[in-house]
Amino acid sequence: MGIFTLALGDLRERKARSALTMLGVAVGIAAIVALMSIGFGLKYSVTSQLTEMADTIMVMPGRFTQGRGYVMLGGFNERDLHDVKRISGVREAAAMFSAVKDVEHRRERKLFEVVGIDPKETHAVFGKIVKEEEGRGLRESDHKTCVVGHSIAKDLFVHEIGVNDRIKIAGRTFRVVGILEKQGGFRSEVDTQIYITKRDAKEIIGDEISMIFVRVRNIEDAERIADEIEERIDENHKIEDFTQALTMGSFIRQLEELFKILQAVLLAIASISLIVASIGIMNTMLMSVMERTHEIGVMKAIGARNRDILTIFVLESGIISVIGGILGMLIGVIGANVISVGLGSAFGIEIPAILHAEVLLGGLAVAVITGVLSGVYPAMKAARMSPVEAVRYE
């Protein structure tokens, strides 16, 4: 028997109350663990797609204006593309010609964005993440062929589009050579686009380049290269602020800032339950101290120091919070996974529950700190009791 057994014995005496207090702590910690895990999962599911594109700069003609949003200002030309390719640090650059066109499949007509790209430059646009699910990609030697986004092929027409089917784009017949994998998330626009060769695009879309996709060698240089691109093209066209070069890196950083705020909000919400739990501990401990006033007096009479009494009660709330904390971690892990599966099936978004060891250990640490701090006041009250009055208390 030691001080520990003494504290544990008291908890066992009041099983129901101890268990309920522990549950209070557990709920608080579970809320923190679950919400944080889901927060991390949300961040991951959004940024993982983007991180793969961190070396990308999207160059668009136009500018963001107040009130009217993004305003297109004409297009780029081949000289602009040529100049961009020559900027040091640029690995590859691809021009995209895009326009919304009328698409017909088995007499069903719909409007879709048609994008022309140079088959040599496909990699610059798609990188490693956009692949064909069926068929193949565009080739330089192709004439009147197209690659279709997943949703167009599978969902948007009554009849599914397959490889080698013929569809009409702006009245001209194209052969489907490939169907892209489903992208979803931040690249979902790819799912509703049709890709054709640059040569074919000149015919049905025109000569103006709608966007230049740039891949840089070093992500660290992206901002500098973006500035240089804007300068170079603006100079070509003699228009100030004509070009917008957006680095994916800055976009990701903005998103990450946003997620930090989201995490903080989630943490704040979860903390409320922890505050309630801490009040619960303090309440339980105050009741325990009051009920055991007589016992405290007896212990003092037989030689317990104030410190011994303090230790017993702090240890007691410590035990409550450690057990509550561990329980909370378990409930939190289960809860996070339940929420993840629930969100997945309810909204069709894949949000994994990401459990960081720091969150788990942090949760436990917070539980213990809360427990001990909430126990200190009641324990000090117990420790400072006058022995004779405590003994006399019945």
């Binding site: 028997m1 057994t5 005496e13 009479a301 120091r305």
Partner: protein, 225 residues
């Protein structure tokens, strides 16, 4: 103060405030107890005898006057030093036994040694020896609720002896047990006094119990006669 004097009270008074009413529990008590004495303090309830005992046991502080234990002026001691004094020099026996009911007999007896920082194995060894001494070696692992009143009081006596104190203060130790059990308990006190030369100060309102002490003091209205 002679070397033989172990407890001395000088003009000890105690005033309680019960709401607005002032209660004079002790009115200037002077007392000297010699090492190895067996003293009974007799008096009706409310006479202040328990208060007096609490003063000698360093549980309570006088409103005025001084309490010396082995020559040390206890009014100069802080809470920790008083706790140390209670732990090392004084063994308490209460009328209500006051055992910790979540602990078994052995653990109860070992408790003062825990506070004294004695190692576990030694605590348990000495606690079981003490229980044997009060004739309870067959009840070591019983919780207080599973013991009779007399047995509980013997556990309490064993606990009082845990840190080998020279002074045993007992507040109506036989007040809650039957006559036979009371006799056993008094027998233990007598042995502790005669064989181990421990100083025993007990409070009682029972003349038969008091008759077994060497010196009897009478108390009424907060004063010794």
């Amino acid at each position: 103060m002679s070397a033989e004097e172990i407890v001395r009270l000088e003009g000890v008074t105690k005033v309680y405030h019960m709401g607005k009413v002032e209660v004079q529990a002790l009115r200037g008590v002077n007392l000297s107890v010699k090492r190895g004495e067996f003293i009974a303090i007799l008096g009706p309830s409310g006479s202040g005898k328990s208060t007096l005992l609490n003063m000698m046991g360093c549980l309570d502080k006088p409103t005025s006057g001084k309490v010396f234990i082995e020559g040390t002026d206890t009014s100069r001691l802080n809470d920790n030093e008083l706790a140390a004094l209670r732990r090392e020099k004084i063994g308490f026996v209460f009328q209500q036994f006051n055992l910790i009911h979540t602990l078994n007999a052995l653990e109860n007896v070992a408790l003062p040694m825990l506070f004294a920082g004695i190692r576990r194995t030694e605590r348990m060894k000495r606690a079981s020896e003490l229980l044997q001494k009060v004739g309870l070696s067959h009840r070591v692992y019983h919780k207080p609720m599973e013991l009779s009143g007399g047995e509980q009081q013997r556990v309490a006596i064993a606990r009082a002896l845990a840190n080998n104190p020279e002074i045993i203060v007992a507040d109506e130790p036989t007040g809650n047990v039957d006559t036979d059990a009371g006799n056993v308990i008094m027998g233990i006190f007598e042995r502790l006094n005669s064989e181990e030369r421990r100083t025993i100060i007990l409070v009682t309102h029972d003349f038969d119990i008091a008759a077994r002490a060497h010196r009897k003091l009478r108390m009424t209205d907060g004063a010794l006669l």
